[in-house]
């Protein structure tokens, strides 16, 4: 009888030993996010808690966030993490020659993209706010940042990517070997899939949001970030205005690209580059790619042509490989 009981216990244990995924889908940073962790519910919950605390610190629309205080008072003593993020974001502004500039906050506010209150601003208002857009003008004294008069910071172009990096690090600390994050369409793969195969990350079509345009094969951990005007836009008087503003003009970027996908190790880097490349256009983007050599890119032009940089594995779509 004892042997029988042991066998029974074993059978029940085997039936229960399925690979466990803890998954949470939630709303944060003004978008839908999901965290799939090959770990415990506590690991997934810790990830969600981390996002909420980041949002509380960084959101332009939360009155008591560090960034809101910085914009309101023109100066703020930031926490080391937020100061580090801001410094890195400004450095990425320099790297991209201002195509991605987090000091565009006062212009973004005119368009209402952060609050959902979309409107077409007066050209004169944009012209008045534009001179304050300058990543070079932020002053530092330790972790105290000071902005010039009229300048405001918005971390919309980098926050999700940064959050993905923070989560990857948090999950690694918790001993989670495998996870997949989707933060408003910013993908971060962590570790290797349980079956040992590559992650397959599809790219959403900018022309039809229920379709995908190709699938990337990603080995191990990486950030895959796609930016495109199609993601957030409004129409006024028959004209469509999208949320990726050109820091040079204050108006939605119009560089001939419908979507840009960046693959890189860091979420912050991929997020910043996806915005910058969307603004700068294919030619400048390819120069940056050759110069840096540390990211991959998929460009979808307005006319539907797809270009992919050498080294990325993209299947399911006719793409021109660029070297």
């Amino acid at each position: 009888m004892k042997r029988c009981a042991c066998i029974l216990v074993l059978i029940f244990l085997l039936a229960a030993c399925a690979p466990q995924t803890a998954e949470q889908t939630f709303f944060a940073m003004d978008t839908v996010m999901s965290v799939s962790v090959w770990g415990s519910d506590a690991d997934a919950a810790a990830a969600v808690a981390e996002i909420r605390s980041l949002e509380a610190a960084l959101s332009v629309t939360r009155p008591d966030s560090e960034i809101a205080a910085l914009n309101r008072d023109g100066t703020a003593a930031l926490t080391p993490e937020t100061a580090d993020l801001l410094r890195r974001a400004l450095a990425l502004g320099a790297l991209t020659h201002g195509a991605m500039d987090v000091t565009i906050g006062s212009v973004t506010a005119l368009w209402g993209f952060s609050t959902g209150d979309y409107r077409l601003p007066d050209a004169s208002d944009i012209a008045a706010a534009l001179p304050q857009v300058d990543y070079r003008a932020v002053q530092w004294d330790g972790d105290r940042a000071t902005l010039p008069e009229g300048c405001a910071v918005t971390l919309g172009a980098v926050a999700k990517g940064y959050a993905a990096d923070r989560l990857a690090s948090l999950l690694a600390d918790r001993g989670v070997a495998c996870a997949l994050l989707s933060l408003g369409g910013n993908i971060q793969t962590i570790g290797v899939k349980l079956d040992g195969r590559d992650w397959r990350i599809a790219i959403r079509s900018p022309f039809d949001e229920s379709e995908t345009l190709g699938v990337l094969s990603i080995t191990g951990g990486a950030a895959v970030v796609t930016s495109g005007g199609y993601q957030r836009r409004f129409e006024e008087n028959g004209q469509v205005y999208h949320h990726i503003l050109d820091p040079d003009t204050g108006y939605p970027a119009d560089s001939g690209l419908s979507s840009v996908t960046i693959v890189a190790e860091s979420g912050l880097y991929a997020d910043a580059l996806s915005t910058a490349v969307y603004v700068m256009g294919a030619e400048a983007a390819l120069r940056l790619w050759r110069q840096q050599g540390d990211f991959g890119m998929v460009l979808v032009s307005d006319d539907g042509t797809v270009q992919v940089t050498e080294g990325l594995r993209l299947s399911g779509v006719n793409a021109e490989v660029i070297s």
């Binding site: 029974l8 039936a15 369409g185 959403r204 229920s210 495109g228």
Partner: protein, 118 residues
Amino acid sequence: MSTRRWIAVFALAALVLAALSLWLLRDTGAAAAEVWLDGERIAVLPLAIDDELLVQTADGGWNRVVVSGGRLAVTEANCPDRVCVARGAVSGGAPVVCLPHRLVIQFTGEAAFDGVAG
């Protein structure tokens, strides 16, 4: 073999089969659903992409199929018993079936992709 032994063997077999069937019918988190109407495949829906499909039969029947948040559900239908609607939202496992409309939605084991960027 004694009667007690036979009972033990059958009980064991029953438990194994029960565990096995639970295992096979679990929510597998499949990545796509094939929609078959009257023996013909009319659509393949990747579960990673939110979508809605109105299936219409030749004689006025209909089922509204919704994919949202990685799960598929028949949210409305005009069949007499609405068993398909009662199934609720699932992400894999046993097929979703509407017998009166000859509609079968089965989940493919092969994942199309793990996530969608953008």
